[in-house]
């Protein structure tokens, strides 16, 4: 028996690790879904005066916190799209169509995706670290003992704030990206702002705007729930807090891109 055990030992480590990873992932996924369901059920509590004040504070903190990065990233994304698309279209003499390329990309896909990544990296990881620190320093237990529900007190305001901030930032990022693309189109490709605007506005449909906003709303919910889940499941002190923050970003990225694909598939197949 011991001989078999020693022969199998090198293989047991990775197998155990995989088993632990699968069990952890299933636990976190289940916890996240439960948290979302409970948060939806607790929505009426968000209209209490103290919670509205908390949400307002978080809205301000999240939007201002992510604003500088969003401005830079979205302007340059629009510029890159215009430059790449414009050069290719110019080969076919179709550079006047650059407006639609930039606008559709920014509104339908790049705006929501980019904003979500920025918010996941800056705000989502922050939520996981903040709640994780509260967990390891017994602050979550203290809330429970004071009969204050961490769901209503911590999760709900963060969920609502991010579900609102994400679409707002997406609209902002879309407009900035289109502006960046328009500037590059004029100075590098030789397409006038009027032509760019007419082409962009002419091709955009209500569905593009709707799906863009829907994606960003879903992304906001995902970032908040993943951040809170990772925070509330934190164990093991400072290392655990670091792991929670890292996991929050990785899981949010994965869910954002997978859900983004399915939303596009549902509306544009």
């Amino acid at each position: 028996m011991s001989a078999i055990g020693s022969l199998g030992a090198p293989f047991l480590g990775p197998i155990r690790g995989l088993g632990r990873f699968i069990a952890d992932s299933a636990e976190h996924a289940g916890y996240g879904v439960m948290l979302l369901v409970q948060a939806i059920a607790a929505l009426p509590h968000a209209f209490r005066r103290r919670r509205i004040r908390d949400i307002r504070t978080l809205l301000f903190a999240y939007s201002t916190g992510a604003l500088p990065v969003t401005i830079v990233v979205s302007v340059f994304t629009g510029m890159i799209l215009a430059l790449n698309g414009g050069i290719s279209l110019k080969d076919f003499g179709q550079e006047n169509m650059i407006g639609r390329v930039v606008a559709v990309s920014m509104i339908r896909e790049m705006g929501p995706f980019m904003t979500a990544l920025i918010l996941a990296a800056s705000i989502g990881s922050g939520i996981a670290a903040e709640i994780g620190t509260m967990k390891v320093s017994e602050e979550i237990d203290a809330l429970e003992v004071m009969s204050i529900s961490p769901l209503r007190f911590l999760v709900l305001p963060r969920l609502i704030a991010l579900a609102l901030v994400c679409p707002m930032m997406t609209v902002f990022a879309g407009l900035l990206g289109i502006t960046g693309g328009m500037l590059v189109s004029e100075f590098q490709i030789g397409v006038s702002p009027t032509t760019f605007q007419n082409d962009a506005i002419g091709v955009l449909e209500e569905l593009d705007l709707f799906t863009g906003l829907l994606k960003s709303f879903v992304n906001g919910v995902v970032i908040a729930i993943v951040g809170c889940t990772q925070g509330l499941l934190t164990t093991g002190g400072a290392t655990g807090v670091g792991t929670a923050a890292r996991r929050a970003v990785v899981v949010s990225f994965l869910l954002i891109i997978i859900l983004g694909y399915y939303i596009t598939w549902i509306f544009f197949r």
């Binding site: 103290r50 509260m134 320093s137 017994e138 602050e139 237990d141 203290a142 429970e144 003992v145 004071m146 009969s147 204050i148 529900s149 007190f153």
Partner: protein, 278 residues
Amino acid sequence: MIELSDVHKTLSGRKILNGLTLSIGKGETLVILGRSGIGKSVTLRHIVGLMRPDRGSVRVLDQDVVALEGQALRRLRRRIGYLFQDGALLNWMNLAENVALPLLEHERLPATEVEERVHKVLSLVELESHMGKRPSEISGGMRKRAGLARALVNSPEIVLYDEPTSGLDPISSSLINRLINDLKDRLGVTQVVVTHDMSSAYAIGGRIALLHDGKIRAIGTPEEIQSTRDPAVQQFIHGRIAGPLSRDRRHHNEDPEPPSPAAPRAEEPAEADGRREP
């Protein structure tokens, strides 16, 4: 008031509580002593419903904590104050906001009354002049005192203290001890104090219990505890390195009973003169 009966709890494969039985009467103050990691905080967590026993029952204020959930558990917890080891204050709030939190979340009191009650409890722990500071701007000892102020602001019937004097200077320790005694003498609050600090245990008085091997090894008044012949108690109160408490816990599980049959026990009635024979 508080009754734990045959409570068992295993955490990460290690038996922490192993048939713990403990009874604390109304208005009584019980000090629980024991080595680090022996299950003192776990005992407090069971009393307040933060942990559920694997087996056994926990009754607090005539309610079965194990069976309580949701609103019923929250109602019970509002009658209990809990001081955590490091205060467990919320970092984004100042001390006054932290202390006011239970009042603001649960009770519709006028702002002036909330302010008055916050002032009162903060002055009890001599932190009135620091009420505008955040937890990160004050020392660990002050955080602990602020945590105590928060635990008391709701005028609870039971207060649980997890290491109330560890890391405090002697003056602050005396202040906390005096406060615990005041709550006992003046308001008749039932209190459970978990500590390593022997001088604090003696100053608080009431009954003292030594937790070892997941159950109460000895219990009695400070005088009874000091005079008991149980080597485990003697080792702990005198801080000796060698002794039964220093052996591996696996060995302890095989030797859970104190050697002296007359050592004071939780379940035993007091002697006629009110003092248990060591």
